[in-house]
Symmetry: C2
Subunit: 224 residues, 2 copies
């Protein structure tokens, strides 16, 4: 009983802080996207490629969540207006970012000078589905080498996603991945989710994804 | 404080049950290997290929850990002496197998008729590193498409591994993966770890891995 009570308290506290984060972001007209995937699914590459394509159109900040290391923060440093690294190794939930970590990160960022924050969550298809951060949209990347059964095996993260990105399309000729089956599984769990097929390596499909991002940021700005 | 205390209790309880599991296994001269990787890293394929190669030499049982679905259990059913599926979706730690789940699974298995149990952990590089299950050896699979920086970003799971399998070697020509850098990172964290380069698709390198498994099972049996 004790354990369940504690978990519930953590979830409630997380939601309260996430709500506060979103208010802070909205006050500064900053849009935030939470990017989730397995380890090596392509979160950092997507962020780097998105920043390169939206250069001059959006001022982008990045929050990097990793268990350990600053490998990814170094990769995104070049184009970002601001980068904050969060290492979760010694935190109570090392397997996901949580709203309190984002609250600290936002305090370090020049919010008045940012239009969009891309949050790279910890590489994991399970824990991040349980914690909202205050983001406006949730995006899951699923890469071809992981196999087309991931929505069936890790349903929760797909159920709550606003967009699903099928990454590493350049490897399609070398893998047994059934795109139609994957899209069908995602739509079965979440008919509203936008699905993009991209290769962050070759640039294939990146235009559609970037248009979607621009559209989301634009409609958020006019709402305020 | 409360949270930390509860976590500590869970870890302690887990270790106690894991010890009990290992005693039960030893009493029946059953060897157990805990297989961990990211989602889609190749745990199920490794199990299927290992069973096919060791057919007639070892009687193998499988415990399948998944958040949801029985997709993997169905794949291994053919060759296994017994298969138990654990779905962690509604359990307190859905992101990893825990010793108590294995204890229940072992109760369902004909231990007198099994030499080796292959435990497929939940697809995750973080949580499974925190929970021992009662296994004799811990194996991490890291697949080429995940990138060569995984030991740096998820160090804990590599520190405790007895063997590290580099899987999907067939994709090497299409990826930027530095084998020497990866092996160097693993050895830096864990100089004792055996490293195998395999492709579960083409069968490349499977002999070395299977010899290692046979050797481990053999020396365990003579110890008793």
């Amino acid at each position: 009983m004790k354990r369940i009570e504690v978990i519930q308290n953590i979830m409630e506290a997380n939601e309260t802080i996430a709500g506060r984060n979103q208010q802070l972001l909205d006050r500064h007209r900053v849009f935030a996207i939470n990017i989730m995937s397995s380890p090596g699914g392509g979160k950092t590459s997507l962020i780097v490629q998105t920043m390169a394509r939206l250069k001059g159109r959006l001022k982008i900040g990045v929050i990097e969540g990793d268990v350990a290391s600053t490998v990814d923060a170094e990769k995104v440093q070049g184009e970002a207006r601001a980068v904050v690294q969060i290492n979760t190794r010694n935190m109570p939930e090392s397997c996901s970012l949580m709203a309190a970590m984002i609250e600290s990160a936002l305090n370090e960022m020049p919010l008045g000078d940012i239009d969009l924050i891309l949050i790279e969550n910890v590489g994991n298809l399970i824990c991040p589905s349980e914690f909202i951060l205050g983001e406006h949209k949730r995006v899951v990347i699923s890469s071809l080498p992981e196999g087309d059964d991931k929505p069936t095996k890790y349903p929760l993260i797909f159920v709550d996603a606003d967009a699903v990105i099928i990454n590493k399309m350049d490897l399609l000729p070398y893998l047994d991945f059934d795109i139609a089956a994957f899209r069908g599984s995602v739509s079965g769990l979440n008919p509203e989710a936008e699905i993009f097929q991209v290769s962050c390596k070759t640039g294939e499909g990146m235009e559609g994804w970037c248009s979607w991002v621009l559209e989301q940021v634009g409609s958020h700005a006019t709402e305020r």
